[in-house]
Amino acid sequence: MSNYKSKELVSKLGPLFGLILLIIIVSILNPSFLSIANIFNVLRQVSISAIIAFGMTFVILTGGIDLSVGSTLALTGAIAASLLSSGMDPFLTIGISLIIGLILGAINGVIITKGKVAPFIATLATMTIYRGLTLVFTDGRPISDLGNHYSFQLFGKGYFLGFPVPVVTMVIAFIVLYFILQKTTFGRRVYAVGGNEEAAKLSGINTDRVKIAVYAITGLLASLAALILTSRLNSAQPTAGQSYELDAIAAVVLGGTSLNGGKGWIIGTLIGALIIGVLNNGMNLIGVSSFWQQVVKGIVILIAVLMDRKKTA
């Protein structure tokens, strides 16, 4: 039993070694990877997918899945853009968008718990609904006349103490979520619901409430990502965020969180998102064709999962 902990540590550190190895390979093949400008570039890109993946970690820890995050991002991004272009105060816009994200997520949670629909099916449906609503809302056209709000532009393009604001946002989100997951009763309940829902219920945990909360958190984070994206592009695309759910799931899985729920950690998700980000950026730098990039990404995910299986076998 004494090696129980060390074994666990090794399996947890696996993704980190993978990331370091990847960085070494990429920087040997193209030393410009390590330039400050490029590193900031990678981190800025990662920040959006990582923030979504953080939420996905909560959902997956409860044994669920959320396919609607990309559509939630598109819808809340479009709403934020149209509010801004109608001249609304940027801070109020940010607040309203976040609340709408929270509500969209909570709707998923309510359908899953009260309607007793499997998460995959429920969020597959809302993914389509939210995407459709985005298209209806934008009439299928991008919204790009956002006005000139310095404070909103800061969100995606600004710097704070020399670091890109999206990266700072990601780090703050990470710290808060890490704290919630590891140090609060809510975090413990999230793990318990995924580990054994029956036992959690019989221990006096309101499992429905926990589940609704994790989907709401995921919706909130998707809308946070939407704000960063909208600010960075200075426009909202109705097709934004397509297949983001898959990148988020990939990041969670790369980080070693079990799709069966109950096992995993959010640091792993951060590492997973970084692996995908470095891989994307590195392949661009090395000049791998975008067609081959997909093949490589898929293979990396497979290798990571297979190695994880070996360790647990």
Binding site: M1, S2, Y4, K5, K183, T184, T185, F186, G187, R188, R189, Y191, A192, G195, N196, E198, A199, A200, K201, L202, S203, G204, I205, N206, G262, K263
Partner: protein
């Protein structure tokens, strides 16, 4: 006949078997007994080729054999029937019986369904079971599935059948049928290894008993020449004393009262009172609705009718959260599916029902949690390498103690225990009885559901008996005998 001698086995330097011997004669039922962790299952896994031995010799009919895989053991007719049955619930009986050994037209892979169904009927009727072979296996009782499992073993020409806790989930009636089947097969020269914690059953059906302790061979006895006390002493290596420890208890006021409790389709009109400091046993066959009554009191099922009173006040329980607020704790029947989060550590499991207590404004207080957990590990004598050990890696008895600890943390005034010692070895059983006694002595009202009649009689002050969703009797301490309880449980039929 099988002779195993000098068997040793170690995992990563951890010796689990040392120079152990075991013998199984033709047409014999041989019990293998020992506390959890004594090495019974490792021994049987070596016999069935799942593990390879480090040292020692296995002889079958006088010839030394080497098993490299379960296939090798199967070829010699050695089959294991595991506690968790290997039945696929959605397949038919015939499909399960021939799983992996389907009859086909040559090598085509096309199934001879008709013929398999005919064979299945033949096989099962030999064991006294008449079932349509097209029945979905999951729709059958566990007892019938068990017999199908035996039929499957016989179909593959088994000569030696290892049964691991075969009766754990069976009703008394089903146990009777199982024993009849086993005895018939024994008369035909088939040998059985019988692993069980239930002493009564071993004395009822076995010819010999081999006892292991801490991975070592203690001895073998002929059943007619030994007794309960000797075997327990051999198992624990010391005199255990009274099987059910004395309780010194003042029974107080009525704590819990239920009136006309009904859940449509499950049970009707259940009324009883439970007093402070009292242990009220709930007996009945499996499926008689005992667990469902407990779940309803705990707010896990919606009641259709009836009232629940605590301290004379009517309460409304809509969820386990409500029940816990009223001081009710519930040690559930199945610790693996309902009691524990297996991947959680001991610590996290114990604090699961006590999160409010271990936190302030939603933030966990480590010191609170650690000291509470340390207290219960010590009080309940949970044998572990530390609070961070995963619940999965504990023995059954220690897992059960973790579940109990979880509920003690809530400081319940009413504690419902559903099969508190199922699958728990004899040493840990006694420790659990001690805990129950201490709780009762401190004034906790205890409702104890149990299928083990000696346990009910040994522990309860009073027992209520259920049959098919109805309360059929109440028996006081003085009148408690297995016969009386069984009569109520079976609806007055005489049990043989």
């Amino acid at each position: 006949m099988i002779q195993m001698s000098g068997i040793s086995k170690a995992f990563n330097g951890n010796v689990v078997l040392e120079n152990v011997q075991f013998e199984l004669a033709k047409g014999e039922i041989h019990a293998l007994m020992g506390e959890n962790g004594a090495g019974k299952s490792t021994m049987m896994k070596i016999l069935s080729g799942i593990y390879t031995k480090d040292a020692g010799e296995i002889m079958v009919d006088g010839e030394t054999v080497q098993f490299k895989s379960p296939k090798d053991a199967e070829k010699l007719g050695i089959v294991v029937i595991h506690q968790e049955l290997n039945m696929l619930p959605d397949l038919t009986v015939a499909q399960n019986l021939f799983l992996g050994k389907e009859l086909t037209y040559g090598k085509t892979g096309i199934l001879k369904t008709r013929q398999m169904e005919k064979e299945a009927i033949k096989l099962l009727s030999k064991l006294g079971l008449t079932i349509n072979p097209r029945t979905r296996t999951g729709d059958l009782s566990v007892g019938k599935q068990q017999i199908i499992e035996i039929a499957k073993a016989i179909a593959s020409d088994a000569k030696y059948i290892v049964m691991d806790e075969p009766t754990a989930a069976l009703t008394d009636r089903e146990i009777e049928t199982l024993f009849k089947t086993v005895n018939e097969l024994k008369a035909k020269g088939i040998s059985f290894v019988y692993i069980s914690h239930r002493m009564e059953e071993i004395f009822a059906i076995c010819d010999r008993i081999t006892i292991l302790r801490d991975g070592q061979y203690v001895g073998v006895r002929n059943i007619p020449e030994t007794n309960f006390d000797e075997i327990v002493a051999m198992m624990v290596g010391r005199e255990l004393g009274e099987r059910f420890p004395e309780r010194n208890c003042k029974i107080g006021e009525t704590k819990l009262e239920v009136r006309n409790l009904t859940v449509n389709g499950l049970f009707q009109d259940i009324s009883f009172k439970l007093k402070k400091g009292e242990v009220l046993g709930v007996a009945g066959l499996m499926g008689s609705g005992r667990t469902e009554v407990a779940q309803t009191i705990f707010g896990y099922r919606k009641l259709s009718n009836g009232e629940i009173f605590i301290d004379g006040k009517k309460i409304n329980v809509k969820s386990p959260i409500d029940a816990m607020k009223h001081g009710i704790g519930f040690v559930t029947e199945d610790r693996k599916t309902e009691g524990l989060v297996l991947d959680f550590s001991i610590k996290d499991n114990i604090s699961l029902a006590n999160l409010e207590k271990c936190s302030s404004s939603g933030i966990m207080k480590k010191e609170h949690e650690n000291s509470m957990v340390a207290k219960y590990i010590k009080d309940l004598k949970i044998r572990t390498s530390g609070p961070e050990q995963s619940a999965k890696s504990l023995s059954g008895g220690n897992q059960q103690k973790v579940v109990i600890a979880k509920w003690l943390g809530t400081e319940p005034e009413i504690l419902i225990l559903d099969e508190p010692t199922r699958g728990v070895d004899i040493g840990a059983k006694k420790e659990i009885y001690h805990i129950i006694n201490q709780l009762a002595e401190s004034g906790v009202a205890i409702l104890m559901i149990s299928s083990e009649l000696p346990e009910v009689i040994g522990m309860a002050d009073r027992v209520i008996v259920m049959q098919e969703g109805k309360l059929t009797g109440e028996v006081n301490k003085e009148h408690m005998t297995q016969e009386v309880i069984m009569q109520y449980a079976t609806g007055g039929e005489q049990v043989v």
